[in-house]
């Protein structure tokens, strides 16, 4: 047997536990009651629904995996994925706000913050008093995360940050952002570090909100740092930890984006099945036509495979096993499934699917970006291939 089978090898409970079922039912109830009536409207108006966010705060949506002592829900990773999946099934833009906040803004605090930083920020992040953002991407640093140009220069007991971050999810509303900046050069390559930057610090500014294809209710913006003064104690980890923190955080964030893609696929799939059973052509429901049945069979199979792959990666993470490759596989596959399934859902709806009157049009637009952010599908393949090739001993 080739040892490739080591990758992703993990015990997995195939039947969801009673807890996972109850969490799914509960979040679904919330999403269908509170988000469904708004989802189309906030997409069209590119409007961030503060009222709903206020309802989500006391229900621990902003502290999914934060320990109890800091006011979080302390969920396991499959539960956290289910939460994001169920929110995204109804409203992907809110799913995005929650997964970015938890997956890449809060997670680095859990992994890399010192005790004082945890005490200062985790309760406020977990309660949603502070909404978080993760700022790595720049005009010239996307997939090539090592090319960050923002700088941080030590000045007495502060760091002075200068640079521009782009496409920052939650950028328009974040209260605290993790900023990746250059702090020097190691032999042969630049050395980056991560800073906890509050939006109230002098020199922190937001750009206009981006006018995007999908996820329109999320306030994605640029962030400008102009001689932004950040206290020395707000360095996350150590100087030079930027790449390490960035990569570990993205591994975790990919589980969230995979969950989001899966939720979008599920929502579009259900809409397509409902429509196929209702829509009459040739004097019968189109669901009785073999072509449509083939689409539905493929969509159902894709979604189930994607879900198992994602939960498997989550289980690996909770076991404390390396999960970088599994997270990339889950993200690559779930996002591919999301674009494929939403495209078929539009196809099944025919002309109506191309109209904003039907939700599948929104799902179709929302799905695409899951193949792009938190590492493009090309980057995921790079990660997976590296992991696979490094395991072959000849």
């Amino acid at each position: 047997m080739p040892n490739i089978h080591r990758i992703g090898d993990s015990s997995l409970q195939v039947n969801p536990s009673a807890k996972h079922k109850l969490i799914r039912d509960s979040v679904r109830n919330f999403a269908e009651t509170e988000l469904a009536p708004l989802a189309a409207e906030i997409d069209r108006g590119a409007f961030f629904p503060r009222d709903v966010i206020e309802k989500m705060r006391p229900l621990n949506y902003f502290g999914l995996q934060v320990p109890r002592e800091f006011g979080g829900a302390a969920l396991d990773s499959i539960s956290a994925a289910i939460v994001v999946e169920e929110l995204s099934r109804v409203c992907a833009a809110i799913g995005l706000c929650i997964t970015v906040h938890n997956g890449v803004a809060v997670y680095p605090f859990l992994r890399f913050a010192n005790a004082e930083q945890k005490k200062r920020y985790l309760p406020r992040l977990a309660s949603g008093e502070f909404i978080g953002a993760f700022s790595l991407t720049e005009a010239n640093a996307g997939s090539d995360a090592g090319s960050v140009e923002t700088t941080a220069v030590k000045n007495s007991r502060e760091y002075i940050l200068n640079g521009t971050k782009i496409f920052v999810t939650n950028g328009g509303i974040c209260d605290v952002a993790l900023i990746f900046a250059l702090t020097g050069f190691e032999p042969g390559r630049p050395q980056s570090s991560v800073f906890i930057v509050e939006s109230k610090y002098p020199g922190f500014m937001r750009g206009e909100l981006e006018d995007l294809c999908g996820m329109r209710a999320n306030p994605v913006s640029s962030l400008f740092l102009e001689d932004c003064r950040v206290p020395e104690k707000n360095l996350l980890g150590k100087i030079g930890d930027g790449m390490k923190i960035g990569m570990a955080t993205l591994d975790n964030g990919r589980l969230g984006v995979a969950a989001q893609a899966l939720g979008i696929a599920q929502g579009a799939f259900e809409a397509a099945v409902k429509y196929a059973k209702e829509r009459q052509q040739f004097k019968k429901p189109i669901a009785s036509l073999q072509t449509i049945q083939n689409y539905i069979a493929d969509m159902a199979t894709d979604i189930k495979a994607a879900r198992l792959l994602l939960y498997h990666a989550c289980a690996r993470k909770d076991e404390g096993a390396p999960f970088s490759c599994d997270a990339s596989m889950a993200k690559l596959y779930c996002s591919t499934v999301a674009t494929r399934v939403t495209s078929l859902a539009v196809q099944i709806h025919g002309g109506y699917g191309y109209s904003k009157e039907y939700d599948v049009e929104r799902y179709f637009r929302d799905a695409k970006v899951t193949e792009i952010y938190e590492g493009t599908s090309e980057v995921q393949r790079m990660v997976i291939a590296r992991a696979v090739l490094s395991q072959w001993t000849f």
Binding site: A18, K19, K21, L22, I23, D25, S26, V27, N29, F30, P58, L59, N60, Y61, G63, L64, R68, G72, A73, A74, L75, S79, V83
Partner: protein, 279 residues
């Protein structure tokens, strides 16, 4: 003084999604996911609102199969303190009379010094609305069904309900039993932390027939006073009737056919009020 509240909850199938077998006249319960009966959830919310204001401890009790544990976990997640599952294969087939008798035993065994029992006014799967009032009889308690509002002042309970288009306000002393309608008390969402701890905490007390000191005669078919003879779908027989002719003949034909029904609906007879052609 800590108030001791009991909420009875039932797991019901999600009826909207439940296939119906017309031949046998039964719901395919096996195919449906379970959920907490909506009126029971409102009763739990009423208890939680009492707990928001006063020092109170909430015990939820459910009689059902092992899967009913799910609704007890949900109740714990929403804020209940203790959960009791009354579960035994011997209970299967119990009618409302036997059920209230079994619940009475469970109440006396697990929380005998209660102040108030809250039940949902009715269940979504059978809609008899009998178990609450019958349980009150078994425990010899004052009870009010279909309440939409409650206030507590010392040991006095004041409740409001709407029945037959009359709004009543009633008062009673603890201990008492209420069944809660779905008018108010919109259930809160369970926080995610609550859902997580509902599975991590001390767990659910499970009690079987022997532990409750029940004999076969009191349970299931033997302990039941009612028997379901037939379950059927009511067939709506709608059809359009076109009356033709002169105005007076149409009106008279209409009255011939429907005057009794109209009279019954408006509460007075309209017989003998036919039109006569003007000549």
């Amino acid at each position: 003084m800590m108030l001791k509240l009991i909420v009875c909850v039932k797991q019901v199938p999600m009826v909207a999604e439940l296939p119906w077998d017309e031949k046998t006249g039964t719901l395919r319960r096996d195919l449906a996911p379970g959920m907490m009966n909506p009126a029971c959830k409102h009763a739990l919310e009423a208890a939680l609102q009492i707990k928001d204001k006063f020092a109170a401890k909430i015990t939820v009790i459910s009689m059902g199969p092992p899967a009913a544990e799910e609704v007890l976990r949900e109740a714990l997640a929403m804020g209940a303190d203790e959960a009791v599952l009354v579960c035994d294969k011997l209970f299967a087939g119990s009618d409302t009379f036997a059920t209230s008798m079994i619940l009475q035993k469970a109440v006396k065994k697990t929380c005998p010094k209660f102040d108030l029992i809250l039940c949902g006014a009715y269940t979504a799967d059978s809609e008899t609305a009998q178990v609450g009032p019958q349980l009150a009889e078994e425990l010899n308690l004052p009870s009010v069904a279909y309440i939409e509002k409650l206030e507590i002042s010392g040991r006095t309970l004041r409740v409001r309900r709407l029945v037959d288009n009359f709004r009543e306000t009633l008062e009673m002393e603890f201990p008492a039993l209420l069944t809660v309608s779905m008018e108010n008390y919109k259930p809160r969402y369970a926080p995610l932390a609550g859902l997580e701890s509902a599975f991590a905490g001390k767990g659910i007390t499970v009690m079987n027939a022997a532990e409750l000191g029940l004999t076969a005669a009191a349970m299931a078919a033997k302990g039941s006073r009612t028997k379901v003879r037939q379950v059927f779908l009511r067939k709506a027989q709608k059809g359009n009737v076109l009356l033709q002719g002169t105005a007076s003949s149409v009106v008279n034909e209409f009255l011939d056919k429907y005057q009794r029904k109209i009279g019954a609906a408006i509460g007075k007879s309209i017989e003998g009020r036919k039109l006569h052609d003007e000549k």
